[in-house]
Symmetry: C2
């Protein structure tokens, strides 16, 4: 079915973006890894690589937003939800040979400055994640500006610790950052 191909193209793109960023990702690689027919990419994404990558960033952002919301609800505190974000990557990065980080971060670093459609997608993603956490921190009694800054720190710390873990091929930076942040958010 046509829409299966579309979803497969988006999923494959998401995985490639997490591993190698936007610049190094080739469309022939996407088509071959997705097992998609040659003509299907421009049929589903007339805007080509940029439109496809923006769809993959949006999908990653949607799923992550839903996960953060789940964890906030399940854990009952912003601190514990943030700890769970770190614990997820403490498992996931070693399991993928320290290859598979955040699809929004790679695109933000290597492509957002030069591609408007991608910058809009990465901006939406960071805005939603920070907004969710800030709301939770405010509900826990923090002042709005303090909640906003702490939420921004928490998202930045997760993203930066993923960068360090990939660069050091070790989960240690994630664990250290988590432990420092847990005390701060509690």
């Amino acid at each position: 079915v046509a829409s299966d191909t579309r979803q497969r193209l988006i999923r494959t793109t998401g995985r490639l973006l997490r591993r190698q960023g936007y610049g190094a990702m080739g469309l022939s690689q996407v088509i071959s890894e997705a097992g998609a027919p040659k003509g299907s990419l421009y049929f589903h994404f007339p805007g080509g690589k940029e439109e496809l990558a923006a769809a993959a960033v949006d999908r990653f952002a949607d799923r992550t937003t839903a996960t953060i919301a789940d964890w906030l609800r399940e854990e009952g505190s912003a601190a514990d939800a943030v700890v769970r974000m770190f614990d997820f990557y403490i498992e996931h990065l070693p399991a993928t040979g320290f290859a598979e980080g955040c699809a929004v971060a790679t695109v933000a670093l290597d492509a957002a400055a030069s591609h408007d459609v991608l910058a809009q997608a990465t901006e939406r993603a960071f805005g939603r994640w920070t907004g969710l956490l800030a709301e939770a921190l405010e509900a826990e009694g923090r002042r709005p500006d303090e909640a906003r800054n702490l939420a921004t720190l928490a998202i930045a710390a997760v993203e930066g610790a993923i960068v360090m873990a990939k660069g050091q091929r070790s989960a240690e930076p994630l664990a250290g950052t988590r432990d420092a942040l847990r005390a701060i958010l509690a």
Copy 2:
């Protein structure tokens, strides 16, 4: 002079890594932007793109390490030196159209998992920066493990806030993260 060409190749590579990462960087782009003779790249870097990028990451790491050491000495506190790291990027990112971030982070995200020589370079860089800050925090009276975790958080926060600033084309995430962190480190 041959060594001028070598330095020019490394400098150009550093700038390109900060802007677009490792995967998207082409050697012909490096040679043309460095104004270097065609044969000079493999003469100076027999290991090609990977060796050249590792040299650029090392140079970026050396200069940043020296800068952090200067700021620690000039400011007299780890908190104020970290604030100065944020303030640097709060100026630098908008001045470069949100293109020029950290050369170590882009390589860590898009290439360290698959290139051993690059992973060694990014590991050295993060290890040195974290070590310097941890030492300063310990000298201020923190317990060694607390100093280590806070230093890791601070470096992760800078790296992650750069990612967010590039993704949002705004210095706001850097300012918010800085303000949250200043209170924590003080």
